[in-house]
Subunit: 259 residues, 4 copies
């Protein structure tokens, strides 16, 4: 794909605008978590990517048909307001994923409606907010998402996310995280659903500036490239097909098929 | 597990009771599709199984909390009335699957609410009603569900189900079907979700007496045994856990752990 | 399977008989590692299992055609003498696995000829001998091998095995281990090869009495039950088949197939 | 990767040079099977690929250290002379795959030493030479290897390859083939081994001009792009690592890690 990948970075934008967390977030993420993620993608990918952002409070959460039609990869960060997301928008995003749009689900997005719907499980996990150090280990060293990533990535402070993480077995397990307390988490997982590619990546709590970490930015940039569909327009979700004519009818001789 | 496996055989029981199909169904399946499936399991497994049946028209579709609590494996056949299934019952069945109950989804059950919810995809496929012959090939010969099953199973007449079948990549692909028209279908697929095991098996259209076929009965009996949970009571779905205490604290020396 | 599972417990039996380690091993494992594993299986499974042991120094390493023909599950522990294993015996074991015999590869057995041959990769890993504590976490809670196993298993002292572990992506990932030093390891992995089931399980260094740990014994017992083939005799490896007659020829009508 | 992908197309070149088949092959494949494959890649990928060919009869079968060091993707066609391939070359190719070189194994290459070694299974299958028509169905429509490929691909005449195909469960199943006789085959399979990506693709018998078929050429071109490593030089196979220092030592505060 020679044209730039069109990424929409979505954020519930709650911590940033809340009375309780607003000041700290403004210090940590002056442009919001969405701003930091978008900036990191730009730093990593340059003109191979164009980003826009969208937030919960916008009409249709900023995820209109038009926006999604022009989105190759959607990233999803949310934590406190999962229930406020309109079911119609969730349905729309699911349809787009099945049609081929890439989806990156980040950190506490594990409990979003869209992730739970695409997984079919509870997506519950174990957690602890205690400034654990986190190490992110690569277990699929030939995977494009792991390209150029140190082994391990070292994140000095981070919320602990631990097993059991109630997801389907990932199609590909790319990263595993450990925490100071001894816990483990399947922190980088790919899933194919319909024509779409999904990547869940857990590092990224609102209380730590993880999205400024260059290795984390590298992972997200790699994931955007991996998740982008080959075909940029006219993508459709799989549907019911009545194949009325048996497919063995009317075969053409080899000689005529070849040029 | 030494006690018998408790199976609940569910059927929408629509074709059997409809004006259009009732007479033909009474000839083909005098006890209904549910009756035939239950009988087949009894023939194959004897006293290793106890079956009950439940249907759409019963209160709570016959799937009360009490019934599900006492069900090790649920089988699901439906075709025309998917939308009539109460969302609360679907949620209840999903919770039980995540808690460890086995689930067999049969034929047109691919479009049931419960299957689509557990898969997260459209579950659409290609089809043709034209009396194709179907061959069912084993591609996991060491799998318990394939034990004692001929290669291929030959089904003289059957509705064609073909790819693309919009499901997540199965955890294990056990059977592939071909049809006279040249189509192919992933006809026997396992999925783990939460603590539960799911098996989708496609042979079994209402217009053909496929559930009387001894090889098909054998597959269903094998699948019931495979899907039954080791633990029969007190099963719970995975949930959110706050591990407040780091897990490396307070380790006991090896000598004290061992007997 | 109502008859007891026939397990052959294989050990290179080198540390036990070496001048350097013999005395410590006699204290830790008076019956050898093979004796401890066999005893643990007996304690857990009672009359559902019969065990025998075999060691490197025996003729054909104790793994004659007759022994393997009567073995449902083989367990493999080795560390220092991988190269001393006869290639003909390795070939024989591989053939039996493809024919349906279960195989449990334990700890440093990751570098055995038989495991490397069945995996097709280098099977290399990271390691450190420094008395790390190990925690073994379940990531497939509905898997038979995890039945009744605490989350996590706590092993006070153990050699560290860490990623990257160069194996094919496991068919099922059952356990993940963490270590005091912060490392992670895919410590419980299943693989299907031919008709056989393979389970790799890493806890079990010769310097620690891990095989006396009741939770570890439980895992091994569960794994033996999972790996045992349904069919006990006449098992054959998959082979080349010339299907001279097209399979759609000569289909029998449904009515004649059903009883 | 902006530089062209360097592909080495390997062929045993036996049918082309044999007394029995030479004349027919010269008609069907004037440049040999290797020439046709290389030409098809060039037609599809233009200046995004550079190809060279190598054959069995060359010194070191044309696969010297230098050649492999400069190869991003190796394709392998062989049928009659598997045993004539030097074990040292097989070892060298395996090492390069584990180091990240892509490998495409084609048709009867399923029985090559390199494929059997990387799979760890017998790689046996069912077959019939009877001019069956073959249909190639996509079961992973979002996979890069399926991009732009019709559903199904229609191959008028081809040798039948059928199940059971004794391979490990593929990491990704991309294509399934059906044949006039009713058989089925997992004809497009991906495997990750070490840092390398492997694609097996079955259409391509020497008796039919399948490599002139534009859809088959498209699959091979897609597969070359998918299998090419991100990193072109300095690739190394995974190896044993002694991590003497626990990884949780010496963590740096978040503020210092971030730019």
């Amino acid at each position: 794909m020679d044209e730039p990948i069109r990424v929409t970075v979505w954020n519930e934008n709650f911590h940033e605008t809340s009375e309780r967390d607003g000041a700290a977030m403004a210090e940590r993420y002056p442009e919001g978590i969405h701003g930091a993620i978008a900036r990191g993608l730009g730093d990593q990918l340059g003109d191979r990517v164009v980003t826009r952002t969208a937030t919960l409070d916008q009409p249709e959460h900023g995820l209109t048909e038009e926006v999604l039609e022009q989105t190759d990869v959607l990233t999803w960060w949310a934590h406190m307001r999962h229930d406020a997301v309109d079911d119609a928008v969730v349905q729309r995003v699911q349809d787009r994923v099945l049609s081929g749009m890439g989806l990156l689900v980040l950190h506490s997005g594990h409990f979003s409606k869209i992730f739970k719907r695409l997984m079919g499980t509870s997506c519950s996990l174990a957690w602890r907010s205690a400034d654990d150090a986190e190490l992110v280990w690569t277990v699929a060293p030939g995977h494009p998402i792991a390209e150029g990533v140190p082994h391990p990535i070292r994140i000095p402070e981070q919320e602990m996310y631990g097993e059991y993480f109630d997801i389907p077995a990932p199609d590909e397990l790319v990263f595993l995280s450990t925490f100071s307390g001894g816990e483990v988490f399947r922190s980088g997982c790919t899933f194919r659903r319909g024509r779409g590619r999904i990547f869940y990546f857990s590092p990224g709590d609102q209380d730590f500036g993880v999205y400024h970490h260059p290795d984390i930015q590298r992972v997200l940039a790699n994931a955007v490239r991996w998740a982008a569909p080959e075909q940029r327009s006219g993508r459709e979700a799989p549907g019911l097909v009545n194949r009325k004519v048996p497919d063995f009818v009317g075969a053409t001789p080899n000689a005529e098929v070849a040029r």
